[in-house]
């Protein structure tokens, strides 16, 4: 019983499912710096979010990678180029991890490519 509890807690803390996991995790993002694009003071600030979820420590799913987060940020201007990008992680855990959600949040300005 204690072993099962430990395994379940480990799964909850690691964000993966014991039975099935299919998630995308952010690894690296080399975004453009303000000096590398022809930006203007009128460039919009946008933000996008992409999430992985797990439930009952058993199943984890989602696309929480940089690609999905930047796609969400650029959904209104798919040909735009994000620059001056800030990337954060937003974690939500309910009832000791019975349900958890971890999101990659990117915020940046949009320039013409």
């Amino acid at each position: 019983m204690k072993a099962a509890f430990l395994v379940a807690m480990a799964a909850a803390l690691s964000g993966c499912g014991l039975l099935y996991t299919n998630v995308r995790l952010p690894r690296a993002y080399r975004s453009a710096a303000p000096s590398e694009v022809k930006g203007s003071s009128e460039d919009r600030i946008v933000h996008g979010e992409a999430c992985n979820r797990s439930i009952l420590y058993l199943i984890a799913w989602g696309d929480g990678g940089y690609a999905a987060a930047t796609r969400a940020a650029l959904k209104e201007e798919p040909n735009g180029l994000l620059y001056d990008v800030k990337a954060d992680i937003h974690g939500t855990t309910i009832l000791l991890g019975l349900y958890s959600r971890t999101c990659t949040v990117v915020t940046g300005k949009v320039a013409k490519p």
Partner: protein, 141 residues
């Protein structure tokens, strides 16, 4: 309290580590991790890569995608939940293969910029694991 502490220590795995990375030039080992007595491993994972800056205005650009995968097996040799396992891992999942696939699909590319790199992790019953390095970028020529 001891159980919670032990669980926290057990949770030290590649998944949480993947959330704790920074800019693209940081070196962070991306070798697949399989639990058990590792009988064989011949795998390549991502470490670091610095892509180009955005090209001059007027260059022809297009979205590109490439990936490379590592595979792992972790097979229980008893019926116990936390019993011993034998494990093996193989595959080319590093930047080199992912970038080679992009070059193969888009001959004539001069470089990549706005490069997003994600790890695509699949695990089934803790027995089969697959970790793919996926590159989404803009290529210019």
């Amino acid at each position: 309290m001891r159980a919670v502490l032990a669980a926290a220590l057990l949770s030290v795995s590649p998944l949480p580590a993947a959330w704790a990375q920074e800019a693209g030039s940081e070196a962070r080992r991306g070798l697949i991790s399989v639990s058990g007595f590792l009988l064989f491993r011949n795998a390549r994972g991502p470490l670091s890569y610095v892509s180009e800056a955005a090209p001059a205005l007027g260059a022809e650009t297009r979205p590109v995608f490439g990936r490379g995968c590592q595979h792992g097996l972790s097979i229980p040799i008893t019926m116990a939940v936390r019993g011993p396992r034998i494990a093996a891992a193989a595959g080319r999942g590093g930047y080199e293969i992912a970038l080679a696939k992009i070059r193969e699909a888009h001959p004539g590319l001069k470089g990549l910029y706005d490069m997003k790199v994600d790890d695509h992790v699949i695990s089934v019953l803790g027995i089969y694991h697959r970790v793919c390095t996926e590159i989404n970028a803009r290529g210019f020529s």
